[in-house]
Symmetry: C2
């Protein structure tokens, strides 16, 4: 499928990008290092969790039938036959008329079917007064209530959040199979670029895109590899692209911003492999290229920093998620009330930077070459291709950076 010279929709571009996503290899990480990684296979419970019925409060395990009708004035009186230690097995039974003290988290002895929390009891020598009825199952977490043996605890494709890591700990997962984070090469092209450490002279600018895009990749759990600046020289760019393809799982070419540069980038990707998409109905970001070389995705980003970031978020991010088999969680968004009209062109998907203040989204109509609006803005508002704009007062979902 070569869509070259035809501008494609954002949806088709994302589909094309995801269709060429190679899955990264699986690595077994220690549990302490797995947070934020994408799980490569379902993890099941090796045992019932908890492995025994546990007290959820400090109190007395008892037979609930013994407490029917118990009250402050007419408490049930039970004989205390022992105490269960934390971490110890329940080594004694509870029979009618007796009870056993169990601390929070301790094992409920056989025979008991409820627990009177200590606050509703009174201890008198070897006897315990229970001052209200205890229901069956009260203050007990039953064996297997959390996870039953063999059940799936965390699904393949989950980006592991703290709660997932806790669940993996519960079921004894010391080594976690995860997809390796994609290593993503970044090449900046353009005769106008100088390294960040230099003072640009007339006509020159510093290489912003490498670091801007690299930082976004880090925020998405990927590993950027920086190949620096290549002047607009076909042979040099092709050599650097080949090296990057060798060493990385995907390559981003942060393109020259002029038409000649963009055409050169497309030519070189085509030389090295194929160009699937050249031009997307998106603003900013129209001159984006989606290609592939030696089985690896090669994306040509637009030259303006804000454009490059938008395309990285809208097009590259789903590609990278596909490379780790991540179940799509979607972008992080939050609703806000649009503070001004945003005009748009039908047939093109627009992304406008917005600040957030007091629940309002305030558009930053800056030129796409500006960096200061990236610092000030909280994220983007999307205007779908089918709309001619959004109106002040509408509720919009702000895609957070």
């Amino acid at each position: 499928m070569t869509l070259f010279f035809r501008t494609v929709s954002v949806e088709d571009a994302v589909t094309a990008a995801c269709s060429i996503a190679p899955l990264t290899a699986v690595a077994d990480l220690p549990l302490s290092a797995a947070s934020g990684h994408v799980l490569a296979s379902d993890i099941t419970a090796d045992i019932d969790i908890p492995g025994f019925s546990r007290a959820t409060m400090d109190g007395y395990a008892l037979v609930s039938a013994d407490t029917i009708g118990a009250s402050e004035s007419l408490p049930a009186m039970l004989r205390l036959t022992g105490r269960i230690g934390m971490g110890a097995p329940a080594d004694r039974d509870v029979s009618r008329g007796t009870c056993v003290y169990v601390p929070t988290g301790g094992a409920i002895p056989p025979g008991a079917d409820g627990l009177a929390m200590i606050e509703v009891t009174e201890s008198i020598g070897d006897d315990v007064l229970v001052k209200r009825p205890v229901a069956v199952g009260e203050s007990i977490m039953m064996r297997g209530e959390d996870f039953s043996r063999g059940s799936v605890v965390v699904c393949r494709g989950t980006r592991l959040a703290p709660g997932d890591i806790g669940a993996l700990a519960a079921v004894g997962t010391t080594r976690v199979p995860v997809r390796k984070p994609p290593v993503v090469g970044i090449i900046s092209t353009g005769n106008e670029l100088v390294p960040v450490g230099e003072i640009p002279s007339g006509g020159q600018v510093r290489d912003i895109n490498s670091y801007l895009v690299g930082a976004y990749l880090v925020s998405q759990g990927c590993i950027p590899e920086y190949f620096g600046i290549v002047r607009d020289d076909r042979a040099a760019l092709r050599r650097t692209l080949d090296t990057a393809i060798d060493r990385c799982d995907a390559v981003l070419l942060s393109g020259g911003s002029s038409k000649d540069d963009r055409d050169m980038t497309a030519d070189i990707i085509r030389d090295a492999g194929e160009v699937l998409v050249h031009g997307i109905s998106i603003a900013p970001g129209k001159p984006t290229i989606i290609g592939r070389a030696r089985g690896k995705p090669v994306i040509g980003l637009p030259g303006h920093p804000a454009s490059a970031l938008v395309v990285t978020l809208v097009i590259v991010r789903p590609l990278l998620s596909a490379m780790t088999g991540q179940l799509e969680r979607g972008l992080m968004t939050r609703p806000a009330i649009l503070a001004e009209n945003i005009p748009s062109v039908k047939g093109r998907e627009d992304y406008v930077r917005v600040r957030l203040a007091d629940g309002k989204a305030i558009p930053e109509f800056g030129k796409s070459g500006l960096i200061n609006t990236l610092v000030r803005s909280a994220g983007l508002v999307r205007i779908p291709a089918g709309m001619e704009g959004l109106e002040e007062g509408e509720v919009v979902e702000v895609i957070l950076w």
Copy 2:
């Protein structure tokens, strides 16, 4: 201030925790490694950005007065006197009646005050026809328009997002002064605990909290250091606490869940230093301890995993933010419609886990010992201390994990 034996409000607890936060040291990181770190000092622009007036489109730099009244039928005709190369200085002037080709991002020559994008022009030999009027400043980003020399580009206390990193690149910041991420020791206590790699026998459970809390710390940019499980033995716990204080910036004691264990934890923190808070009006998480030893915060977390995570999010997170001088960005939240009533007790701040589905927040009324609700839930709904609950249909802000 010892508030021991008096349950304090969440607000007071957070204030107490932040009041004992020591700032971490400053480290200079390479720009490529600074993403997600907290900036330790304001960064100012070393030069005007851009350093010269730039074209924002491919086109012809000209004197705008020459295009007054220009139209398709009566275009302005200008003599093309040269082309500016990418990265080259603007080495020729534009005078009345002439124009110079400038690619996107190229330098605008002296004398020009506007640019006709190529789409509205026609080239005939050495002449260029401009078919509509060009406004002063059109398609030009002025020198210093993005950042003027000496102005603050990114503020101290900012957790560096991709756009911030791009701005730092623009102003030549190759080494970035950031606060070192806090190293946070985690000690699990409790005779019932066994390491994750073991099969628990009757009465035993695996050490979930170390990994659950550790993963949350990682998500907040901190570095957890794991000190394993200490049995309920005062001398051993004190020794491990001392080691952890030596090696870390703060220490979390994931407490025994029974009252005896909690009291022991408080005693040991008091022995090592002082206890500022013992008991917070929060559910889950009431038995939390806030203390300090040798100038370092020592927090006693409740034993139930969900309780430990809630306290880490509500109390420990602001403490850690204060340790890096982070400007408070607040928790990530999103609004949702509450799907069921949530009862609560006045005078206590409640945090209820919720799932999110179709814009609704569905409470997970699980026992706080359950892990599966942590996996399923998207975050927490807070019921302020002054309220007796929330009602179905109310719009609530869900605090995302």
